[in-house]
């Protein structure tokens, strides 16, 4: 096993003394569960080849998007890369519009121009995503710059993968954000892999957050499988950004269970040990949080059953909506090439 769960470098922000109300805890649980169920449904229907879009499922990593977005206001702006579903849903993006986009329908969030890798919902601050690794990082810093210069209230969050930190654009953007103390939080979701390439063949053995720290940006590595850890770390970083103190960098470590793209686990192909996937499943963000909540008597079996039912019906109706929606016409091709 190359990358076991290793809490050694994790900084803990969550104090067991902090009391969260039940509604909040339930919300976090529900949001993670909802993302997982949606992703499972996508995975189960992907072979039908009706969602003609490259997908990058986030199963195993739901806690990062949910924990971070719980620390944000609706007006704050989120940006991400190709692995969009988790961030889009956690930020409050419309599920029907997302499913329509995956099904290449005219009423998709991008009118079928973006596919799974370009989801956005500007009404809830899901501002943009890019299929070019690290491509949306400068965009997010630019929006943070605008917020600072105009004295707007919003802050920005830039979600990126571990491999995005191998791109020059990331360091250029981080440098600028640090220089101008911009209201932004960088969330690096380290899942150890870029497609099939492990971290060790891509980067020297220096923790990613250590490199970001050298820019004078407060940087930490956290347990990305624990939604309350993510939330607590994000809250601090968000407050810092909002107070005008500048950017923060959070390396959130969690593991993706399925292949880089597509709907199945591709571990058998040999790039990673299938036992590694099983090992991380033992630290599953949803089941560990489930056990925690149950042990604290914050969640009951009946409540979960009810939750599952509601989610199931929402998911089915979103798929139904997408499948029954019209496809775009040829006239769509040439509109909005330019803005008025």
């Amino acid at each position: 096993m190359r990358y076991p769960y290793n809490p050694e470098n994790f900084t803990s922000f969550h104090s067991s003394e902090t009391v969260y109300d039940k509604a909040f805890l339930t919300r976090l649980y529900r949001e993670m569960l909802r993302i997982r169920r949606i992703e499972e449904e996508i995975a189960s229907r992907y072979h039908e080849d009706e969602m003609k879009s490259p997908i990058h499922l986030v199963i195993g990593q739901e806690s990062t998007a949910v924990g971070v977005c719980a620390a944000l206001e609706k007006t704050d702006l989120a940006f991400c890369g190709h692995r969009t579903h988790g961030v889009y849903l956690a930020k409050g993006g419309d599920l029907k519009a997302m499913m329509s986009e995956l099904y290449c329908r005219a009423n998709g969030c991008a009118g079928s121009r973006g596919g799974s890798m370009h989801l956005f919902d500007k009404s809830v601050g899901m501002e943009s995503s890019s299929a070019i690794v690290a491509g949306s990082i400068p965009t997010s810093v630019g929006a943070a710059f605008a917020s600072q210069r105009r004295k707007d209230k919003f802050i920005c969050v830039s979600f990126l993968g571990d491999a995005a930190t191998e791109e020059g654009a990331f360091w250029e953007a981080l440098n600028f954000a640090a220089l101008h103390k911009l209201p932004i939080v960088f969330i690096c979701e380290n899942n150890f892999f870029s497609v099939c390439s492990p971290l060790e063949v891509r980067q020297p053995k220096v923790a990613i957050y250590k490199k970001a720290e050298s820019f004078g940006v407060p940087s930490v590595q956290i347990d990305g499988t624990k939604v309350l850890e993510v939330y607590a770390a994000a809250r601090q970083a968000v407050e810092r950004a909002r107070s005008g103190a500048g950017p923060s960098f959070i390396e959130s470590v969690a593991y993706r269970y399925l292949g880089h793209g597509g709907a199945t686990d591709d571990s058998a192909s040999g790039y990673r040990d299938p036992a590694e996937v099983e090992h991380w499943r033992e630290h599953d963000p949803i089941s560990t949080f489930h056990d925690f909540l149950v042990s604290k008597s914050q969640l009951t079996a009946t409540e979960i059953e009810q939750m599952e039912k509601e989610i199931r019906s929402e998911v089915l109706s979103a798929f139904e909506h997408a499948i029954s929606s019209p496809e775009p016409g040829e006239e769509e091709l040439m509109t909005h090439v330019y803005s008025d």
């Binding site: 702006l77 969030c109 991008a110 009118g111 121009r113 973006g114 370009h118 956005f120 500007k122 501002e127 943009s128 890019s130 070019i132 491509g135 949306s136 990082i137 400068p138 965009t139 997010s140 810093v141 630019g142 929006a143 943070a144 710059f145 605008a146 917020s147 210069r149 105009r150 020059g168 654009a169 360091w171 250029e172 953007a173 440098n175 600028f176 220089l179 509109t335 909005h336 090439v337 330019y338 803005s339 008025d340």
Partner: protein, 345 residues
């Protein structure tokens, strides 16, 4: 929308290039455009390597940071890709950045953000995003500029949907097109030419726009049509000045913008002359010359009385050395030669 209001309020949009009035240097005309834009709209900001230098960037930005503050006119790290994306992001949420570069060569580092991001936001966001961004740079030439400081890369970008590309040649146009570019809601590249920037001319005061995508006749004649932009067109005008005593006359069209391209003015002139020479400061192959040549062959074939000719740069790199460089750039004599050939046939 302060921009639209201000520009509509000014009647200057109707101002024609006059033969009288204030004479301004090209550089001062540009500086005035930036100053007016900064004054008009708090969303405008100006950035680039060295814009705050004591002499500004080629004088174009001199003193602007003192007038408007370093919050709005500021120096940048050497991060062309990152900063281009940062500008696009700021534009996406409503600001109007004007990002200045000494040389277009440096934009090659920013192609990812220009081609794969800024140009696409409006379209990929299904009309819900827009990028009012101006990227300005000045094509270099001579005195050792060489292969990496003289590139005229407009042809590489001309085929990218969603971009606008401006190439002025007079102080009047430089100011009016800069204002038009800042007022435009799309990513717009302005390629200035260092040699054109040495000129002076009539420049009205206050705000006015030169329409993006509209060419203008610099000379009227009957023997052929010469079309192009920027410094290449200046050379063509000199060539025609010298040829006119020999009884040769041409429609000389300054396109001013290569994207969107003013096709009408080209076709209108070609209908009359039947012959066309395309000139450009960039590579001849697969660039502006090639595109206009093809356009004419495709849509105005029956007006052609002879082959399309083009004069751009050869399929080689700019030499730094003085003597080699003389062979590289097409000069007035070369243009005269080609024009004579075209007229005589």
């Amino acid at each position: 929308m302060p921009w639209a209001e201000a520009l509509i309020a000014s009647k200057a949009e109707e101002v024609e290039v006059g033969q009288e009035g204030r004479i301004l240097s090209y550089v001062d005309a540009l500086r005035e455009a930036l100053s007016l834009a900064l004054d008009l709209d708090p969303n405008v900001f100006v950035l680039g390597q060295g814009v705050n230098d004591p002499r500004g960037m080629f004088g174009v930005t001199t003193g602007l940071h003192e007038e408007f503050g370093v919050e709005r006119v500021f120096d940048t790290p050497l991060s062309e890709e990152g900063l281009t994306g940062i500008c696009a992001g700021a534009a996406l949420v409503g600001m109007r950045p004007v990002y200045l570069h000494n040389r277009p060569d440096f934009l090659l580092l920013a192609f990812n953000q220009i081609v794969s991001h800024a140009s696409k936001f409006s379209w990929m966001d299904n009309g819900k995003g827009r990028v009012p961004l101006v990227i300005w740079s000045a094509i270099g030439r001579g005195w050792g500029s060489g292969a990496q400081h003289s590139q005229a890369i407009q042809g590489l970008l001309m085929g990218v949907p969603g971009l606008k590309i401006i190439m002025p040649s007079t102080p009047y146009d430089a100011k009016g097109l800069m204002l038009a570019a800042i007022a435009d809601n799309n990513p717009t590249l302005i390629f200035e030419h260092r040699w054109s920037m040495r000129s002076k001319g009539h420049v009205p005061e206050g705000t006015y726009k030169v329409p993006i995508g509209k060419g203008v006749y610099r000379k009227r004649g009957t023997d052929l049509t010469v079309v192009g932009t920027s410094h290449a067109l200046e050379v063509a005008l000199e060539a025609m000045d010298e040829l006119s005593p020999q009884g040769i006359s041409a429609d000389v069209i300054d396109l001013r913008t290569i994207k969107p391209l003013d096709e009408e003015i080209i076709f209108e002139s070609l209908k009359k002359t039947g012959k066309i020479l395309v000139v450009d400061t960039g590579w001849q192959m697969a660039g502006v010359c090639a595109e206009i040549g093809c356009l004419v062959a495709e849509k105005a074939f029956h007006d052609l009385k002879g082959p399309v000719r083009r004069i751009g740069l050869p399929d080689s790199h700019t030499p730094a050395g003085f003597s080699l460089e003389q062979y590289y750039y097409p000069n007035k004599e070369k243009m005269m030669g080609v024009i004579k050939e075209m007229v005589e046939k």
